[in-house]
Symmetry: C2
Subunit: 198 residues, 2 copies
């Protein structure tokens, strides 16, 4: 398989982390998160959103959206619960991640750490407030349990871990979030875990 | 079941539309999309994002995120494909909807039509540009096929239909989108279809 990848992207990391857990082999083609001028040429026809990760399967079929990719490959493995309602709760967290978490935490991290033309500070701080709201919700959930769904590590944890564990790169402070801190350490102890740099 | 609902919300409409197709009975509790001051009291403890739709099942368990809810109830019905890869493509479109479509088209519609304190016009127009990018991607996909995944109507169509069919209420012009126009009419002809007002 071929993964159109950006190494620093938390969305791509979700896929790489699950593939590491599952021992799935694949090739990578690296795309820049800063200079996106070649996206239409490379990803046009593959992904309507022109984003990474985009995954080309061995038979040539193409799958996009990080959370759709990890959901596809987690099926039938220990990383997706067997119970139908728990599966729905996993999806609830995946949609929460893409709507309430990633647009705030990932965007602020990008502006602070990678962008060559970040928006005005006022706009960054407004976005940062949304990131803290998402962290508040995550902290509340993790105060009651070790992992987000059921009693074990699933793709819900992988999806939320991806940008939470690098939130410090967007100057988010996690000192006030002890349950998140313990959970981050718990995820990093899972068998087959690899860091975002891998 | 009890659906915490806002009648004008496209996200809530997705659930109501699927339930109408499936003949599923439920009760509703209406929440305002403008005055959200009672959200923590009503939805706190039920939904970390404090948003509608939030669905309380008959056994008291709670499910949130519109696309997670319709995915849960579509399983085993004609509204979710049986093929595993097609199921993944449905999820790809559901995540596209929540990341690239809804935040632009739904927010602009809200500001234009419902909000008592919309942002400056410049911000609305910047957001509108993102909405047209999503419509461009949708038009390209629907130029090649009648429905978004496979050859039949699925929850991918329901999810994208919800805010596309009321984009005009956000002053989006759909004249340049003939494939979307034909698809909107196709969706409205499906058995059991109900309008957003129902």
């Amino acid at each position: 398989m071929l993964l159109y990848n950006s190494q620093v992207s938390g969305n791509c990391y979700k896929v790489r982390l699950l593939f590491a857990h599952l021992g799935i082999a694949y090739e990578r083609e690296e795309l820049s998160v800063v200079d996106r001028s070649n996206r239409p040429a490379v990803l046009g026809g593959l992904n309507p959103a022109l984003r990474v990760p985009t995954l080309v399967l061995d038979d040539g079929r193409v799958l996009a959206e990080s959370n759709a990719i990890i959901h596809y490959f987690a099926q039938g493995t220990e990383y997706l619960p067997e119970d139908r309602f728990e599966q729905a709760k996993v999806l609830q967290w995946l949609f929460f991640e893409q709507y309430d978490h990633e647009p705030y935490i990932a965007n602020v991290r990008f502006w602070v750490r990678f962008s060559t033309s970040p928006p005005p500070a006022q706009e960054i701080e407004a976005r940062r407030a949304g990131g803290y709201r998402a962290l508040d919700a995550l902290e509340r959930a993790l105060t009651e349990r070790d992992f987000l769904v059921g009693d074990r590590y699933t793709i819900a944890d992988i999806a939320l871990y991806a940008y939470t564990h690098v939130a410090n790169e967007g100057d988010f402070g996690l000192d006030g979030y002890p349950a998140i801190g313990a959970w981050l350490a718990r995820v990093a102890r899972q068998r087959g875990y690899v860091p975002i740099s891998a």
